[in-house]
Symmetry: C2
Subunit: 312 residues, 2 copies
């Protein structure tokens, strides 16, 4: 199928066309340039981008499902990107493949898509913005990006989303402590899921104490939920709305979007340079440099200089 046909069908909201385009993003199709040029003026940045992150076991998928339902009640067209950096070696999955998302699998106003983040420099930062463009072109008004993560993935999601939700659950061991510095910086909204369990109040209290030590203009609210029963859904959406209002009033939304566009441009430029490394002079050149570094014949900085001269 022609790219222009595919885009027309995606704009028309046909799930298979949306899925095909996102696969092309994931696989780094040579036609991406053409696709992105075509989508350039498509409802740019209409969608609210909401990131959800947290350690394994906190109930991310269930919470995502709960939020999809809440936004559907408000008649919003919703996109879900489940970026799963824990599967760096598996390819992309099909649209609607997530078991816990079954409820929405037949709703034409919900697009659900798993994306594997390639285990490579700039994988997530390179592919995700383009997948977001496809979902925006398909008319999504809210896009949820779900990611497993303590660590780099969290930072990445914070730079991709307008609002970042950090999920916690009681009884996750020293998870809060371990993740402390990171989550305090990136969370716009905290959700303490499984709030019907022992220890939920303690988790909320610990979080509140940690937050008291940080100075931030926006104070992240802490919202308890029981996602599998849908409890707290409205509270989360209200907290998200408040944060959006703050972003708009403070000018922070415009700033975040500019940073995001900068990151996207940089990621594409770096990916182009990487492929020059790999292809222009063939992989050989780099192998030879690597061997010389291993032999102690070159230091890595001089090797990098030679590499850059080689790609000119």
């Amino acid at each position: 199928m022609e790219v222009s046909d595919l885009i027309a069908r995606a704009r028309d909201g046909q799930p298979r066309a949306v899925a095909r385009l996102i696969s092309m993003v994931e696989n780094g199709s040579p036609r991406l340039r053409e696709i992105m040029a075509e989508l350039r003026t498509d409802r740019p940045h209409r969608a609210r981008i909401i990131g959800l992150t947290g350690s394994p076991g906190v109930g991310k998928s269930t919470s995502t499902g709960m939020l999809v339902q809440a936004f559907r009640k408000r008649d919003k067209k919703v996109g879900v990107l489940a970026v799963d950096p824990s599967s760096p070696f598996t390819g992309g999955a099909l649209l609607g493949d997530r078991v816990r998302m079954q409820d929405h699998a037949c709703d034409p106003e919900v697009f659900i898509r798993s994306m594997a983040s390639r285990g490579h420099l700039g994988g997530l930062s390179w592919a995700t913005p383009q997948a977001l463009r496809v979902l925006e072109a398909a008319g999504c008004e809210v896009i949820l990006i779900e990611t497993v993560g303590v660590g780099q993935a969290e930072v990445d999601i914070a730079s991709l989303a307008d609002t970042t939700v950090v999920l916690l659950a009681p009884g996750m061991g020293d998870g809060i402590q371990a993740a402390k510095a990171g989550i305090l910086e990136i969370a716009d909204v905290f959700v303490v899921n499984k709030a019907d369990r022992d220890g939920a109040q303690a988790t909320i209290r610990e979080l509140r104490n940690m937050l008291a030590l940080v100075e931030r203009v926006w104070r992240p609210p802490i919202v308890p939920t029981v996602a599998y029963r849908g409890e707290g859904a409205e509270d989360v959406v209200n907290a998200l709305d408040e944060h959006l209002a703050y972003l708009e009033e403070s000018g922070e939304l415009a700033r975040r979007r500019q940073v995001r566009a900068r990151d996207e441009i940089e990621a594409i430029a770096l990916a182009a340079l990487r492929s020059r490394f790999a292809h222009l002079h063939g992989d050989r050149r780099l192998d030879v440099l690597a061997d010389r570094v291993l032999d102690g014949d070159l230091d890595p900085y001089t090797a990098a200089d030679e590499l850059m001269e080689a790609i000119g």
Copy 2:
């Protein structure tokens, strides 16, 4: 102090000199090039690099401490790099700052260092190899890299280490399932810590079943431990030795080291290009491009072309 003095002291095993040099790596000191040129021929690749990774709460630090002790018993000089990607926003910590490492804080044959992975493209892959060079110059024969992680950090550690140990613990919820694809690919040795707890056998069984589905030349052993009591330490070290023997016999060690050197050279080259983006024409140029992308006036690929022309 002159760089050459600092290096002489580090080679002499003085912890403060080692700490200073690693700080310079972390902070991207302009003198790094000089330092790395100087270290070029310093016992290159003498050290065994062992990565330890796992979700928060599995007992990584305790297990690292246990392994330090086991290698000290064998009279090895040991380095520990605790790369903590969950604190992307905090700077480096002092040598020997890890509470649970107290036991070794006064041992002159153990270097312990926390490193914050900068929340940026290439942070870990750029800084860690250089920190390893410093530790090798200081005479470390075994270097343990400890990292929190499900996700990207795991992949990174696998590319930096000769042997990657994935830690699990019973009762971590759906952690294994969530992390499945990733950990099966990168683990050379599995350690099931807290093996005195309920569910340890079930975790081992689950892991064994998962492993049965994968075809790999090296079959990762599964070693139960109770790290806080030091139980299983010798079994882990034996498993590490077996893996090292396999790496050497199969030629895989040479291959891994070549890939590592390539990655290091690429990471330095990409970092240099990034700083050209940021500095050569000033940040302005990129801001203007970002605004044009946001306005739908440019697609991101064309913007990336313009950026690359600008740094030409």
